[in-house]
């Protein structure tokens, strides 16, 4: 039997050698593949336990930091401003991953950029060089935006038209990122489920991830298309004074708000937000001109903001308007085929304010390593050239008149020439979204703004001017003060 016993030994040795080979495959050869697998949460858990940089507002207010906790994870993210910056910083969650700046700048915050290894000890210890991310948003401007909007669903976006720096990015309702980022996984999961079940959808960053009918604020784009095409100027054509416009291929007339009568040249029709005239302008220009100009402002593309998953503001393609002048007419006044994020409408205002160039919007101002050295700062870049400077100048003049004597008088910042355009996107059930876009100072713009207040009672053109304009005015004033020349 001894021979068999020896062979049994050899057999078991071979089996165990096979186990050892397979262990090497799993633990060494293929380890990286398994570590990067999407179902594998260990990397998140690792980052959870590691030092992580801070997120700071433009004025230095701490928006996110890691604090020690009595838990196996050792560290927990803390958001001292609570819901105020939730849609900007996002959260850093064990169960839900990360969102906002926590996600888009994760490598810098966690120190995974892999640069600047300065000595061999650092290389061996793998000490992460965490970095702090400073934002372009001053905490007080964001706070003013929150307070001005109050407990109404909607959004406020303000940015510097000259370099695309975001100055306020608020939407209501918001949420507290602290709970979601808790090391208490059950509490975090419960909080997340509660937020997901909430009909008001607080997790949704309406400012850059939700689209709405832009209503009459879109007339700025229609006017820009007309001016750019050369077929419209400040003085001609003079649109007929009328209370209804019937586009070709339909008998359904487009009417003015409250059944009013209006008409005239561009400044006049913009001032009173004349539906009949802009509908006719859209039809006269044709789908190609209107869609091209809208796309030049950024429609049909996701705004390249440095936050995760921004929404596309769609207007459809030229072909979808073929033989469909009624839809074209409605689209020219911001209904039907066109939808926009609040951020995109702010970019329209900013493009006009910046002489026709739309800058890439961004929330990151600079990144400093843990020894305070700047390792990255934002280089302003042009996103699109929407219109020529002379077109922008004409639009600015017309929009200034809207604030001086038109529907947007409540946007006027005292002592500062202000340009703007109201909007009321009808929802068809007696409710409408109240909109306003604008910028100031009109002669040397430093702040552009867009405000939407969702589902307000009433469907007159006054809604935007009454509800949204005062909010935008407060934010404009605060942003101008915080963003000097």
């Amino acid at each position: 039997m001894n021979r068999q016993i020896r062979r049994l030994g050899i057999g078991l040795l071979v089996l165990y050698a096979a186990l050892f080979v397979q262990l090497n495959v799993i633990q060494v050869l293929r380890a990286d593949t398994y570590n990067d697998h999407p179902e594998n949460s260990r990397a998140i858990i690792r980052d959870f336990s590691r030092p992580r940089g801070q997120i700071l507002a433009a004025d230095g207010t701490v928006l996110a930091r890691s604090v020690p906790v009595d838990s196996p994870f050792k560290l927990q993210r803390e958001y001292p401003e609570g819901e105020l910056f939730a849609h900007v910083t996002g959260y850093f969650s064990l169960n839900a991953g990360a969102d906002g700046v926590e996600r888009s700048y994760n490598d810098a915050l966690a120190g995974h950029t892999g640069e600047r290894i300065e000595d061999i000890g650092e290389l061996l210890l793998g000490e992460p060089r965490t970095a702090d991310v400073s934002l372009t948003i001053p905490a007080d401007v964001q706070r003013v935006a929150r307070d001005a909007l109050g407990a109404k669903r909607g959004s406020v976006v303000a940015l510097d038209p000259r370099d695309g720096a975001v100055l306020a990015l608020w939407s209501f309702p918001s949420y507290d990122p602290d709970v979601l980022s808790s090391v208490d996984i059950d509490a975090a999961q419960e909080a997340r489920e509660r937020l997901l079940a909430d009909e008001a959808n607080p997790l949704l960053a309406r400012s850059y991830r939700e689209t709405y009918f832009p209503g009459s604020t879109f007339k700025v784009v229609t006017a820009a298309a007309g001016l750019a095409s050369g077929s419209v100027s400040a003085t001609s054509p003079v649109y007929p004074t009328s209370n209804a416009y019937v586009p070709p291929l339909t008998r359904q007339p487009i009417r003015n708000f409250g059944g009013g009568t209006c008409g005239g040249a561009l400044p006049a029709i913009l001032r009173v937000s004349c539906n009949t005239a802009f509908a006719q302008m859209g039809v006269d220009l044709g789908a190609e001109t209107l869609v091209n100009t809208a796309e030049d402002f950024g429609f049909n593309h996701a705004a390249p903001i440095d936050l995760p998953a921004p929404a596309v503001s769609p207007i459809g393609d030229v072909a979808s308007f073929q033989e469909n002048t009624p839809v074209l007419a409605m689209t020219a006044i911001g209904q039907n085929a066109v939808r926009s994020t609040p951020l995109q409408m702010a970019l329209v205002a900013a493009g006009v304010a910046n002489g026709g160039d739309v800058m890439v919007p961004h929330v990151m101002r600079e990144i400093r390593d843990n020894e305070g050295r700047v390792i990255d700062n934002w280089e302003p870049t042009n996103w699109t050239s929407a219109v020529r400077p002379d077109v922008a100048a004409t639009l600015t003049e017309a929009m200034t008149a809207v604030v001086e004597q038109g529907t947007a008088t409540r946007l006027a910042v005292p002592g500062v020439p202000t340009a703007g355009k109201t909007g009321t996107a009808q929802l068809g059930n007696g409710l409408s979204h109240a909109w306003i876009v604008g910028f100031a100072p009109a002669d040397a713009p430093r702040v552009a703004v867009a405000v939407i207040v969702e589902a307000q009672p009433g469907a007159s053109e006054q809604t935007g001017g009454q509800v949204a304009a005062p909010i935008a005015q407060t934010v404009l004033a605060a942003a101008l003060a915080a963003n000097p020349e």
């Binding site: 020896r6 078991l12 186990l19 060494v28 196996p72």
Partner: protein, 432 residues
Amino acid sequence: MIPVVQRLRRNTELGLILLGAVVTAGLYTLASLGTTANVPVNIGPFLGVVLALLAGAHVATRRLAPASDGVLLPLAGLLNGLGYVWIARLDPDLAALQAVWTAVGITAYVMTLVLVPKARDLDRYRYTFMLVGIALLLLPLVPGIGKTVNGARIWLQLGPLSFQPGEFAKIVLAVFFASYLVEKRELLGMAGHRVGPIMLPELRHFGPVLVAWGTSLLVMVSERDLGSSLLFFALFVVMLWVATERLSYLFVGGLLFAGGAVAAASVFGHVRQRVEIWLDPWAAATDQGFQLVQATFALAWGGIAGTGPGLGNPDRIPLVETDFIFAAIGEELGLLGSAGVLVTFLLMVGTGLRIALAAHTPFNKLLAAGLTAILGIQAFIIIGGVIRMVPLTGITLPFVSYGGSSLVANYVLLALLIRISADNAESELQAP
């Protein structure tokens, strides 16, 4: 000559036990530092208890089997300690129970040495062991005392106590097979029929083995305990082969196994599912494959050196304290630790087979080989299952996994191997 060998072996044993206790206490401290950032408050008493338990076993061995092998007990103690550290790190409540089971296991070890002064004594109770073995296998099927846990009906519930009789059945049946096969091995080894190059024995000699083996397999399948079925199967085939010295039994056994596996996979849904998950756990990464996928993540995350005790996340793996404890150790000690566990089992297997080689009677030889095969194959089945070498079948990792029945049964197995090694040394003395 004997007193010198005895002293040498016992002192080696004591030294290795001390080394194992230091390793265990060190890992226990590190795991506590990893999970709570504190040195465990009970580290003093802990080290004391570990040492007391193993020293108890050592003293008993000194008195009851002084000439026995000096390596097996420290190796078992090391695995036991390693398992305890991870059970304590994963679930302190289970750890308290495991400590009690360790004490029971060591008591069983001592009792076995007391009750079996010579391994050949077991030979006398051959059919008693057969009946006891079959009874142990059948007990969980008895209504009222049988209990189903995680889909397998392998538990006995007697009042507050529950245990898996199958863990003991494997030892008892190994004794029966050693005894029976040694007597019949001449007959079984004779070629009755010849099919090509393969010799087949007369069916009437082979019959009883086939029946016992078929019965136990049937019981296993009806209890849904695939791991134990596989272990029994391999044990029978190996013992038959070693006893008869006929390679044909290995071939026939292999063919029977392949046929049985294919049949089981086509007939039983739960068997087929195991095979599918084995082939591709990633397709079901969030449900049936979750456990295997998480174990793979754990091992991969451990890499070469591991995260350090208490610093990994093995608690994401279901059943990590029992069937999957190897993955927890692999994550926190890395390839170095997981390979260390493999080496420890290989050392035990090597020592067990050396004892078998040195045995002076065929019964002792076959029993030692069988018991060693149980240990080596069982560890292979579960480690191979966890790292996807073979389909996963739930079974404990000897001495390491949480589980009272398993721990106590394996200490009994250890005592029998120790007893055989003591017999070897004593007959060497008597031999001229």
